[in-house]
């Protein structure tokens, strides 16, 4: 009986393929693309300010609202944050990944891999809250700063309007630190994978031909691992663009995209504006990927 079934599929490879692909394709088309289209459609409706109802009628007025200066500031603020978080993640991830790929023993590598991904096993919210304690006015950092008599410096830093706030736990710097912490694993794993694929002999060849370690990094290692850096940055960049919990917990009164979407959709039921807002990160990501392609990130694919 079983033999007959397998023979049946063996003779019909196309049918077999169709059966295998159907579930993921349906999922992808209906759930992924479908919801994106719904978003797009909704962003062309508008909210009647008097009745509080969504009017299902094509209009550009929601987008007109989106492009008001205050909202553009939200986009700008979020994008700058995403760029800074991504850069910090690359700078932190590269040395560690390099150590893991080149020098760590297989045993050590397993442990490091575990250590890097371990935080992902626990709840995101719990981890974010723990940072609240670290950064709080009476938290570890303030305490340590007082201990070494640098609290003056910390207070001076927090007084700065752009990066500071009442305390580290309520400041753009706080948001930045927590973002870097929670997205770092998403940067380490792809960079480490890319580094593993660069044969040691290529680095030796560069040195042999006269390149100093810095020149080897610039001319050989970085170009070859750039796709990995871009892959990681897609995670850190897009996750930062969309996140609403961290700005909610650590933010001052200034909005970030995620928080704005939450407020419009949840609090004011302005689904069209929320939908229009989510188009923002999508456009930003498309621009980001186009720049990455221009820089040659996908040449090796």
């Amino acid at each position: 009986m079983l033999n007959k079934i397998s023979a049946f599929f063996y003779r019909r490879p196309r049918l077999t393929l169709t059966l295998f692909l159907a579930p993921p394709l349906i999922w992808f088309l209906v759930v992924y693309i479908g919801s994106l289209i719904t978003l797009l459609v909704n962003s062309f409706f508008y909210l009647d300010g008097f009745t509080g109802q969504v009017v299902r009628q094509f209009t550009m007025q929601t987008y007109a609202k989106l492009l008001q200066p205050t909202n553009l500031q939200i986009f700008q603020r979020t994008t700058i944050m995403a760029i800074l978080v991504t850069l910090a993640c690359v700078i932190l991830a590269f040395p560690l990944s390099y150590y893991m790929a080149r020098f760590a023993s297989p045993r050590m590598k397993t442990w490091l891999y575990l250590a890097v991904t371990l935080p992902l096993w626990t709840s995101y919210v719990v981890r974010v809250y723990s940072w609240k304690l670290i950064l709080a006015q009476e938290g570890i950092i303030s305490w340590a700063a007082r201990l070494v008599h640098l609290d003056g410096l910390l207070n001076w830093y927090l007084k700065n309007e752009i990066v500071g706030g009442p305390s580290l736990s309520v400041s753009p710097t706080g948001i930045f630190l927590v973002f870097v912490y929670i997205w770092l694993p998403y940067m380490i794993v792809p960079i480490q994978t890319a580094l593993e694929r660069v044969p040691k002999s290529l680095l030796e060849a560069a040195g042999d031909l006269g390149a100093t370690p810095a020149q080897t990094f610039r001319t050989v290692l970085l170009p070859l691992t750039f796709p990995g850096v871009i892959a990681g940055s897609i995670f850190t960049f897009s996750l930062t663009l969309g996140d609403f919990i961290v700005p909610q917990l650590f933010g001052t009164s200034s909005f970030y995209i995620g928080k704005a979407v939450l407020t419009y959709q949840g609090t004011s039921n302005n689904i069209p504006l929320a939908a229009a807002f989510t188009m923002g990160p999508i456009v930003i990501m498309i621009v980001y990927l186009l720049i990455a392609r221009k820089l040659g990130a996908f040449d090796a694919l």
Binding site: P199, S201, L202, E204, A205, A206, G207, D208, L209, G210, A211, T212, Q215, T219, V220, P223, L224, D299, A300
Partner: protein
Amino acid sequence: MSETAILFKNVSRHFGDVKAVDNIQLEIMDGEFFSMLGPSGSGKTTCLRMIAGFERPTAGQIFLYGQDVSDLPPYARPVNTVFQDYALFPHMSIEDNIAYGLMIKGVAKTERLKKAAEMLDLVQLPNVGKRKPSQLSGGQRQRIALARALINRPKALLLDEPLGALDLKLRQQMQVELKNIQREVGITFVFVTHDQEEALTMSDRIAVFSAGKIEQIGSPADVYEHPATAFVAGFVGTSNLVTAEVAQRITGTPRRFSIRPEKIHLGKIDQPAPADSFTADGVVRDVVYLGLYTRYLVELDSGGDLVVVEQNLKTTSMDVTKIKHQKTRLAWKKEHVSYIGDGNA
């Protein structure tokens, strides 16, 4: 008297408890084609990597043209390497690969691409400059690796089993070409290989490595005809090693010796022994016809076996198989015998 190119003074390299290279002395002369021959794990590649600077000696010093380079990083050494896997940069075109060394030195683009084109001519691959390494065959990549290593005009070129990945025909062709290129550029070549035939074909001198030590250094003829140790006799070509006990019965003295199979004459049992030769009687146990020549395994009456190889100048496969199980008298000239020290194995 030519200059010393590379000098090893009491050089050791240990990896934990493993003595990869164990107190080696070595002198390579300027302009020489020098081969390091040995099985894998014998320390030959580690020696090469220490010359290049990829490994640092645990003890001892390495000199390049009189300069102690033991503590210099690879990029500060006047040598270049051809890697076993070629190590071409996959993201660069062929001409950029070749011009890499010049780019690092800051040579202008037009100038270095002109030089790269010259190198492509030297390795007989014009017109591939714009391609990527992945678009070339193994043999072509090998030549590009050679061109890239030579463009910096190194004082010595280090080659780490560069022909290992090529098929036999291509390998033999490259052996000749490498030798020609060496003559043309006139620099020292240090060539690592585990292929004894390759070493014999190309080298001016050979160092035979075993277990982190050098067993013998000499010209190909020297190493082949007068192996200093049992290991060399066994590793370079095939050789019969005769134990002291059997040697006593054949030569009259209890000294171990080795004799090459092709030096032994397989004769009739009743033929008289020539004056300047040793003889031994035995029975042909096995005959393997190999076209160009035939290999015989002869069991000696005095104990032990000898392998004998004779060319099929007049004999056919029919003739040689008839010899099986027959009694024979082996003879070889005394001068072809290499006496070997009291080492084991």
